[in-house]
Amino acid sequence: MAKVLPDIFIDSNLPAYEHLLELDNLKVYFDTQDGIVKAVDGVSFTLNAGQTLGVVGESGSGKSVTAMSILGLVPMPPGRFADGDIRFKGQSLLAMKDKDMQVIRGNHIAMIFQDPLSSLNPVYRVGKQVGEGLVIHRGLTATQAVAKAVELLDMVGIPNPEQRVRDYPHQFSGGMRQRAMIAMALACEPEILIADEPTTALDVTIQAQIIELMQELQKKHGTAIIMITHDLGVVADMADNILVMYAGKPVEYGTTNQIFYSPLHPYTWGLMRSIPKRTLDNDQPLTPIKGNPPSLIDLPAGCAFSERCPYVQQHCRDEEPMMRLVSDDHYSSCFFSHDGEFLLNSPIYDTTEEVAAGALDTGTLADAGALDTGTLADTGELADADDSNYQSGGRDG
């Protein structure tokens, strides 16, 4: 029944590649009546097998469009790839035909979304939806796929999977739906899982469970994860590297340790100041970032963050900063990231665990120990080749 397309990603057929996934100066623009919306404007990062990349930013910072671009799910028109490339195992996804992209989607790169209820088709049983990928990509029959769906639901911790597989999405609770989404995404054992705010629509306690589940499954299957969130706390515990985005542009990129212990960009500082902290006095208010993100059609001339930045200088308004290397594999787009005195403004947290605990406030993440030094030391490896990614002219600072 199901036609299985020839697998164009059998490793032996591929030229050598350095990273599992590479985004190279990706620009995704939307042509609208009001003008060009630069939703993603020059984003670069790399992802290796088994690693987790956190992509952090406010609403409208281009995180989701970046994620959708990787799977080729950006509606075109009005969207278009203005520049750059996305390479999966060294192959350009942008140059790929739609038929070949269908082989990638769900099979090599899977995605889960923010609202698990609206992301599941209300008229089909959960089992059918979870197993559907196996029918398309592995040529299973519908019955075999449902049998496999039972295993998958069991794997993501849904009780009574034999019965639950026959349920419809509306009969599941919110947390169970997201578990089912994860089961669906992992059905074909993809190399990359993109999670677009997977916990935003869930209760705080359920959020922690889902994150734990994702970490557990990542360890088991070695899946690389791109975790998109507006919540630094979510990625603190999970990510190897973090990319901070603002108004469609990357503003800071580094290892999780670097981002949390020595953040360079005032926007990252702002994000950190808006996380509730356990050690703060109760009467000490959080410090939100003032103002709203700029319109992506009409960005300020210089730094996109200049209008909201408390440390803004005239230079910031005149010239657009580029991502530049500040220290080992740590990039920032702020003009002043090299200035030691300027960096004294940074809010310094004691530990990343504290941020995680403060944001989720469950305590489970803090002692999960996932962020021990071992994990972070590993991440040093990935960054070796990163220098070439941000070939902005401004390394001289």
Binding site: R105, F113, S118, N121, P122, V123, I136, D167, M181
Partner: protein
């Protein structure tokens, strides 16, 4: 159980109308000629027409309760017998029309939605707008003159579609060709509506998150639309087509009159002209029964399309 109040309401309304409408049904039996006074009195008494209207209503409902739909003034036959004769014509015409409506209407709607804002979408939108605003009887006559007369004359009779009523004897069982023009006419307006509802529903569904999920799974566009989107978009379309089918089954008075189609609608139309009340009454009663049965079936069919609508479901959530 909305059946009972609707039924009583409809029959009461009919009796009220028959009291207002001028014309003596009994005198009309004889047409131009006059009826002897004694015969007239006998017929009037036999049909309780000398009684006050509410007594007549009582008699009628009593008979109905016993399964007696009454007796035609003019034809001297039982009403139920007359409709049993006419119903197959109407039902087959309705079936033909509904098939056209489903196939053409749904496909046009799907194509429009998938190729949103394309040339073909605009063409379909334009033609459905024209169809919607075209009166059925006028379209019927137009088709008759084009295919039955104009094309026939132009090609010396080589191209012509036989139309019942346009000359020549009408066979009791029309051949397949006889169905084409009446079914197209009957389907026209509803077809256009079906296409429009289908288009808007599908567009709405295609913007849903679960469609994105389906794409993210690696489904082709075709599978996403046919397997994931269509089933979700169907309920309003089914509702419309179902109600429409009920209307068609109860006789399309305009279409049947234009094409002299020997169906229920035309029978009722003729009976109204002749003030043959038992046929009008019986016809409407039968229509009410058919429409309400079909509505019930539509309601039940919702559950097939949307599991969130399951009646008396065991699992409460």
């Amino acid at each position: 159980m909305q059946f009972v109040p609707v039924f009583i309401g409809v029959t009461l309304l009919l009796f009220a109308m028959r009291a207002i409408v001028p014309g003596d049904p009994i005198r009309m039996i004889a047409g131009e000629k006059s009826i002897p006074e004694t015969t007239y009195r006998i017929i009037v008494e036999r049909n309780h027409l000398d009684q006050p209207i509410y007594i007549q209503y009582g008699y009628y409902m009593g008979d109905l309760f016993h399964g007696d739909f009454g007796h035609s003034y003019q034809k001297g036959r039982d009403v139920i017998e007359i409709f049993a004769d006419k119903f197959p014509s109407t039902a087959s015409l309705a079936l033909g029309a509904i098939l056209i409506e489903i196939v053409v209407g749904i496909s046009a709607g799907v194509i429009s939605a998938v190729k949103k804002y394309s040339f073909i979408d605009m063409l379909l939108t334009l033609s459905t707008s024209i169809l919607v605003s075209m009166p059925v009887f006028w379209l019927g006559m137009l088709l008759q003159s084009i295919f039955g007369i104009w094309l026939k004359n132009l090609t010396g009779g080589a191209i012509s579609l036989p139309i019942s009523g346009s000359g020549g004897p009408i066979s009791a069982y029309p051949t397949f060709l006889h169905y084409i023009l009446p079914s197209v006419t009957l389907a026209s307006v509803s077809l256009a509506f079906t296409a429009r509802i289908m288009r808007s529903q599908l567009l709405e569904v295609l913007s849903q998150d679960y469609i994105r999920t389906a794409y993210a799974k690696g489904l082709s566009k075709r599978d996403v639309i046919l397997k994931h989107a269509l089933k979700n978009a169907m309920i309003p379309v089914i509702t419309f087509i179902g109600i429409d089918f009920g209307t068609m089954m109860s006789g399309a008075i305009l279409t049947e009159s234009v094409f002299s189609w020997p169906g229920v609608g035309r029978e009722i139309y003729l009976a109204i002209i002749q003030r043959d009340w038992p046929i009008v009454m019986g016809g409407v009663v039968i229509i009410v029964i058919i429409v309400m049965t079909i509505n019930l079936l539509i309601d039940i069919s919702y559950a097939l399309f949307d599991p969130r609508i399951r009646y008396g479901s065991k699992k409460a959530d």
